[in-house]
């Protein structure tokens, strides 16, 4: 294991070094990619070893950073799961980046992109490996900073800089809150290693535990992107290069989930019912509102970013259900809920990564992310279209792919809510079921739009007409993830026991819960539903294969001919005659108009002679997320006012500053004297 760990570090370091020393050309980009792939594969192998054998991997380096116990790496099963997730996504994204970064050739940002990508992967891999608070926060901050600079790779666009600003501010606010949570826990513990924190947690008062949980929720939740702390997601993710967006959306936000699980479940050992209820509530809200805003987007990557908010909501629903069941002493259902949340974590990483890589290929070929300029790409980029379709079906929870398997598990966990003795609490479950189902249906509608408008019908612009297929390495990255989506969907019985074992010993969750037989049906005691994705897939494939045979037996006509699209006999067909993305989402926009509150600007130019003759009409409608305005405007205004006030201290006079220095020095001396 030690060698795998070293290999992982070496791989990423190699990639970073290659990026700095020799970034350009196919060889340089290939080396950078190879570094990322090697590091990722080593990380995945290490994670699998820990998961399958159960022996944790410990590495101490107290000499490095000797404050607060130095660096300590301890990979237990929960950490290994998230480490494996990083490695799992690093391989295809690294491969993808080899060809994608060709667009940055000849620019300084190529060096930065390659180096920071590897450093980002390195720090992100080390976050779940951390064994004490210092290591955790150090790696967390490294992850945030590297991703911030990666987001800023395209600094020539002003909105990118703004996006970076939002991201930096929110991630540091989250860091501060998480640090506060850890420090609060550390008040009653001997040291800041996770082992000691866990041991000292029962000594905390209930109000302290609640405070720690809330701080952790706010801190890690903002990284995860739960509502209402999600505002940085739709700004930062589209701005970053596509494979970085895939990693951010696929893995980085899951680190928020990891942090919450580590603090809430592992260190604190679970808590009162309202913890779980709060998570379910926030999750359900994120799921529905996230997908509603995704529906109205026609920037392909921003649409995917909003969907990440939705899926984090679903993960939180699963985990919240688990915590809630645990507080009622229902271990089987608790494990079910947690496992459902964790399974969705993996699945989301898989299909969201795939979708971002696909969107990146499209943006790379067309030079735009605007769906209204796309169309007809299925004939020009057939393989990208196929992979994107697999991702779209997976995220819409269509059987037999992986999105359906994990959503089914979340449903089953919520349906187990009937076992909760208190009816006023139990009513949370059906509401969550309803909101989850609504989010899932709306996601399907959104992806019909995303895939249909982008890839089908006729090209809506010259750029779309001249699009070309993505290069080989980009296709390879997407193909890997597409196959993983199918595999994870068909073989849940292989994945679920591993997920269950990660929860063993955490909090008071016993691993007895999910008895998965080694046979095909995915059986869930306690909620007792049953489903077998491989048999389902087999049935569908058999039916699809039998259909042409059946048609032949029926003596169906085999002739076919190609003609024009039926348009009531009109003379020609132009792209203006097809449906647009905005039009597709219009019925839902009307249905949810109260939530969206679209602004409407209509100006009509009349002919000077008579107002019955219209010369031109200009119509403009925009949707601004008013939740953001409501929740963020007043703190921002307050901070700005405070900053203006503080600026008065900076009068510019050197004498004044010397005076400040003297006063501070005197105060510190007095404090040092009195504290003795």
């Amino acid at each position: 294991m030690r060698s795998l760990f070293a290999l992982m570090l070496a791989g990423y370091a190699l990639g970073a070094a290659a990026a700095v020393l020799r970034p350009g050309g196919r060889g340089g980009r290939g080396l950078v990619a190879a570094g990322a792939v090697l590091g990722g594969a080593a990380g995945l192998a290490l994670a699998l070893q820990v998961l399958l054998t159960g022996t944790p991997f410990v590495l101490e380096a107290p000499a490095v950073l000797s404050i607060a116990d130095g660096l300590l790496f301890r990979i237990d099963r929960l950490g290994a799961l998230f480490l494996g997730l990083v490695g799992f996504l690093a391989v295809p994204c690294g491969l993808y980046g080899a060809a994608y970064s060709e667009g940055y050739e000849g620019r300084a940002s190529l060096r930065l992109l390659g180096a920071l990508l590897n450093l980002f992967l390195l720090t992100m891999s080390l976050v779940p490996c951390a064994g004490n608070v210092l290591t955790f926060l150090f790696m967390w901050e490294g992850m945030s900073l590297t991703s911030y600079f990666l987001v800023l790779t395209e600094t020539d666009e002003p909105e990118t800089v703004l996006a970076g600003g939002w991201y930096l501010a929110m991630t540091h606010a989250g860091l501060a809150l998480a640090l506060a949570a850890f420090l609060l826990m550390a008040t009653s513990s001997a040291s800041t290693t996770f082992g000691d924190l866990r041991a000292a947690a029962p000594a905390l008062s209930p109000s302290a535990r609640n405070a720690v949980f809330l701080l952790a929720l706010l801190g890690f939740g903002s990284k995860a992107g739960i509502m209402p702390l999600h505002v940085w997601l739709p700004r930062a993710h589209p701005a970053a290069p596509s494979h970085v967006s895939a990693l951010m959306s696929g893995v980085m936000i899951k680190m928020g989930v990891y942090g919450l699980l580590r603090v809430g479940l592992d260190l604190l050992g679970g808590g009162p019912t309202w913890w779980g209820a709060l998570l379910i509530g926030l999750g359900a809200l994120s799921a529905v509102i996230g997908v509603l805003y995704a529906l109205m987007e026609h920037d392909l990557k921003r649409l995917l970013a909003y969907h990440s908010v939705e899926n984090i909501g679903i993960i939180f629903i699963g985990i919240g259900a688990g915590l809630m069941f645990q507080s009622f002493g229902l271990p089987a259902l608790a494990t079910l809920g947690m496992v459902a949340g964790l399974y969705h974590t993996i699945n989301h990483a898989c299909f969201k990564g795939l979708l971002f890589l696909g969107a990146g290929s499209v943006a790379h070929a067309l030079g735009t992310r605007n769906m209204e300029e796309m169309g007809g790409l299925i004939k020009r980029m057939p393989r990208t279209a196929l992979f994107f379709l697999v991702g779209a079906c997976a995220i819409s929870a269509l059987p037999p792919l992986n999105g359906f398997a994990s959503e089914w598990l979340v449903f089953q966990a919520l349906l187990g809510g009937s076992a909760i003795p208190q009816p006023e609490v139990a009513v949370v479950m059906p509401l969550a079921v309803a909101m989850l189902a609504l989010a899932s249906g709306l996601a399907a509608a959104c992806f019909v739009k995303a895939f249909g408008i982008t890839f089908l019908a006729i090209p809506r612009s010259a750029r779309a007409e001249q699009a070309h297929e993505a290069p080989r390495s980009m296709q390879a990255g997407m193909a890997m993830l597409a196959m993983a989506c199918v595999a994870l969907g068909l073989l849940p019985f292989a994945v679920v026991p591993i997920l269950g074992s990660t929860l063993a010993g955490l909090g008071r969750v016993t691993p007895a819960a999910i008895e998965l037989t080694r046979s095909l049906p995915l059986q869930v005691p306690g909620a007792s539903g049953q489903m077998s994705p491989p048999l389902l897939a087999l049935g569908l494939v058999v039916l699809l294969a039998l259909l042409p045979l059946g048609l032949r037996l029926l003596g169906a006509e085999r002739r076919g001919r190609v003609g024009d699209t039926w348009g009531c006999g009109r003379i020609g067909q132009t792209p203006r005659m097809e449906y647009t993305a905005t039009a597709f989402a219009e019925p839902l926009r009307r249905v949810f108009a109260e939530l969206y509150r679209p602004t409407r600007d209509l100006s009509i130019d009349f002919h000077p002679a008579s107002k019955y003759f219209v010369q031109s009409i200009a119509y403009r409608s925009e949707i601004h997320p008013w939740i953001e305005r409501l929740l963020y405007n007043w703190p921002l205004r307050g901070i700005r006012r405070a900053a203006v006030w503080v600026r008065r201290l900076q009068a510019g006079s050197l004498h004044l500053y010397l005076f400040y220095l003297t006063v501070a020095f005197l105060v510190l001396l007095t404090m040092a004297r009195w504290w003795r």
């Binding site: 002739r559 001919r561 003609g563 024009d564 039926w566 009531c568 006999g569 009109r570 003379i571």
Partner: protein, 168 residues
């Protein structure tokens, strides 16, 4: 509830189809055996107004009424020529409708039939020689049967349709 008591009161309003003289319905050629076998019991019709005065259309709408009830012969109207087997064309073909008529014919999958309804479709009727008229229907699409009249009665139109598919 008044609706249902009225329905019960009226009963079945469909009348048996009266015979039509053979001068009104002109079959241009022998009915294709394949068409007879295929469309004998189920026929989908797409109506095309190639510039008519809508007199024929009013009579055609009578076909789906309870009195004439074309559905009892398996004949029903469809929205798209892709779903259709038979095109029911009315009116002299105006210059603007010439290309759409041909496109509708091309959009219909084979095997297909065309029945042209009204005097206008065969001889351009009262609009003959007008500046907007491009010609009769058989100058643009191959016609299988004409139904004469200005406008022809619904019974005659139905007889024409049935004759085109070889039903008495």
């Amino acid at each position: 509830m008044r609706l249902f008591s009225k329905i019960l009161q009226v009963g079945l309003a469909t009348e048996p189809l009266p015979p039509t003289s053979h001068e009104v319905v002109r079959l241009l050629h022998e009915v294709d055996d394949r068409a007879r076998r295929l469309f004998g019991r189920a026929l989908a019709i797409r109506e095309v107004d190639a510039g008519s005065c809508n007199g024929c259309e009013l009579e055609i709408t009578g076909l789906t009424s309870p009195v004439y009830d074309s559905e009892r012969f398996g004949v029903h109207f469809v929205a798209s020529p892709r779903h259709a087997d038979l095109l029911l064309v009315t009116g002299p073909v105006t210059r603007n409708m010439a290309v759409p008529l041909v496109k509708t014919y091309e959009a219909t999958p084979a095997p297909k039939l065309v029945v042209a309804v009204g005097d206008c479709s065969r001889t351009c009727g009262v609009f003959k020689g007008g500046y907007g008229v491009a010609g009769s229907v058989d100058q643009f699409v191959p016609v299988d049967a004409f139904v004469d009249g200005c406008p022809p009665e619904p019974a005659a139109i139905l007889r024409g349709i049935l004759a085109a598919v070889g039903r008495r």
